[in-house]
Amino acid sequence: MLKKIHLKAVALAVTGALLTPAAFAADKAPIRVGFLTIKSGALAAGGKQMEEAINLFMKERNNTIAGRKVELFVADTSGQPAVTKTKTQELVEKDKVQVIIGPLAAFEAIAVDDYIKKVGVPVISPSAGAEDLTQRKPNPWFVRGVGSSAQPSHALGEYAAKDLKYKRIAIIADDFAFGHEIAAGFQRTFEENGGKVVQKLWTPLNVADYGTYIGQIKPNVDAVFAAFAGGNGVKFVKQYSEYGLKGKIPLLGAMTTVDEGILPFMGDDALGVISTGWYSANLNNAANAKFVKDFNTAYKKDPGYYSMGAYGAALMLEQALKDVKGNIEDKNAFMAALRAVQLPNDPRGKVTLDALGNPIMDIYIRKVEKKDGKLSNVVIKTYPAVSQFWTYKTKDFLSNPVYSRDYPPANNLEN
């Protein structure tokens, strides 16, 4: 008799445990977030800036998003695609992360693309701009926290032709996909508005010296558009001035050429450079004022491309988690929420995502000026709600080949 009751009790207890809502159990386990960054090699500076922003975000939220504790797993990829793949696998299989913020470089993102599709873990990119990641080869588990490579340069191309009335421009850019795509977007809108790209110079990513290239720039162009990633902008802007071109031929830049992350090292050589991007530490809105102030308090410098990218990715994660009430365990619902994220109060301004998972956001034309004794990207014009397709129809845009070294073809080059 006693035995029978005992058995009944156990059965009841087991049933009870099974009936407890899953969410209740999940509430206790922290959300596991993977973060892929680069801490060594040539891209280490950007990786560090990303990590600073993520750490600031987590501190501000007290490691709690949507009512749940968040545990961050940081992995260093060294900027090598093979390592990125191993680290991503480690994050997913060993650390059991439920969402990944990263990786930094486009070639890293491409390296893990297939694996992400296979295991189906949501990824928010804080930096990688490669066009096709959200265009011709979209990944259902991938959204971008930042824009595509050419998204800001479409705007600058039009600005250079229409507002600055430049007719002839020489392009000098890093000889890898990011540089090609930035240059291609600029050339397309610049030429469609009546300008001519008369010279294109591609410099190897790890070039020792720009003197050789600067010596070739045609003296009779209206401006030079320089598209550089990482630290290359520092070297180029300095040498542009040493060769006496500063003040003679105006310099235009991509977002990363005069990024806030490298601006403090540039000195007066950078003054007057007009560039384009989806962010400036100078943006005049409440969210940005707070972000810049907190960032400055924590790290004694302004946030730039990489910091804003990681912070923006974290904001998207937060919004999506809130939308699913913290229930990241329902992977499909979470991914759907991530794709539908709307951030009206992002430090960048209003950010929404298009159908392919790429942000639609304001693009700013910025000019390097001295403010309170330090160099700063001051906003001089805003293009509101710009998509990765600029003003083109999505279908038309996607039926063209992806932007590259040779597309769109440069028909106005002069020898």
Binding site: K39, S40, G41, A42, L43, A44, A45, G46, G47, K48, D175, L201, W202, P204, N206, V207, A208, D209, G211, T212, Y213, G215, Q216, G230, G231, N232, V234, K235, K238, Q239, E242, Y243, G244, L245, G261, I262, F265, M266, G267
Partner: protein, 286 residues
């Protein structure tokens, strides 16, 4: 016209940078038969040390001196503590120098951070000179002159001093030199120290052109290898000629055949090695 002139000047300047980098490498290889793979790291570290001296408010010349002393001492320590224990085992020595290179690279990243750091030229060499209506940076011209002085100094040291005679004798025939009482071990220390110091000086001297950044070491090491192999292993004259040759090939190659930038650097080396395996000025090693 001005295109050729500017590119020629560029080539000379790059040649000057390469010589300060390659001279030490060639010296060490000539005497010790060690392909010192930490040479690029010494170059970068020299630039960082110099940068810190300049940022502390001291002059560019003090920066050069500090880089020479600091990297020379480091070279001494590496030679005494690590390489000497591996004497006779050149493969282990090569691997050890590679390890030293990684350690230096990571320590630099930790200490100086990952941001690219430009270095200002000394103020009296800032600005440019007008040549045929184009501006050419004055510092680059100064750098060529500096590298010629370094070459002259090394030549005097090797050709006109007793130390130089001993070094040359050891380079030519190490066993014979040891047999007649040349203190080879001591020479090794001195030469390694000198070679490292030269790399350090090269680093800070080139910094106003190249900037200092993580990865500078790996960018420069292959170029040093190309220069030394092209010029002939262990030959200082070869390193000198090789540096300026590569300077010209690199600058004009990049300007005239931009799509072949990488090939242009290595193809001449391959051709010369195929035709003349010991390099332009290399001696047949014993």
């Amino acid at each position: 016209m001005s295109f050729w002139l500017i590119q020629s000047l560029n080539s000379l300047a790059l040649g000057g940078v390469l010589f300060t980098l390659a001279a030490g490498f060639s010296l060490i290889f000539g005497l010790m038969r060690i392909a010192n793979l930490s040479h690029g790291a010494y170059f970068m570290l020299g630039a960082y040390v110099g940068l810190s001296v300049i940022e502390a408010g001291h002059s560019f010349f003090l920066a050069i001196l500090a880089a020479a002393v600091a990297i020379g001492l480091l070279g001494c320590v590496v030679e005494r503590v690590i390489l000497r224990r591996l004497a006779g085992n050149s493969l282990s020595q090569v691997l050890a120098t590679l390890g030293v290179a990684f350690v230096i690279a990571d320590c630099s990243l930790w200490f100086w951070g990952g941001d690219p750091r430009p270095v200002a030229a000394p103020s009296f060499l800032a600005g440019g000179v007008q040549i045929l209506g184009q501006t050419f940076p004055l510092y680059r011209i100064a750098l060529v002159i500096f590298s010629i002085f370094v070459a002259l100094g090394l030549w005097l040291l090797l050709d006109k001093t007793k130390l130089g005679v001993m070094i040359r004798a050891s380079v030519d025939d190490r066993q014979m030199a040891q047999g007649i009482g040349v203190p080879a071990t001591k020479l090794f220390s001195i030469v390694f120290c000198l070679g490292a110091a030269l790399a350090g000086v090269g680093g800070i001297a080139a910094a106003p052109i190249l900037s200092v950044y993580p990865g500078l070491d790996a960018d420069m090491l292959p170029i040093a290898l190309v220069v030394v192999i092209l010029g002939g292993l262990g030959s200082l004259l070869g390193a000198f000629i090789g540096s300026f040759l590569i300077g010209f090939i690199y600058s004009f190659g990049q300007a005239l055949f931009p799509d072949l930038a990488y090939i242009i650097l290595f193809l001449p080396m391959l051709i010369i090695l195929a035709v003349r395996p010991r390099g332009l000025f290399g001696k047949i090693s014993a």
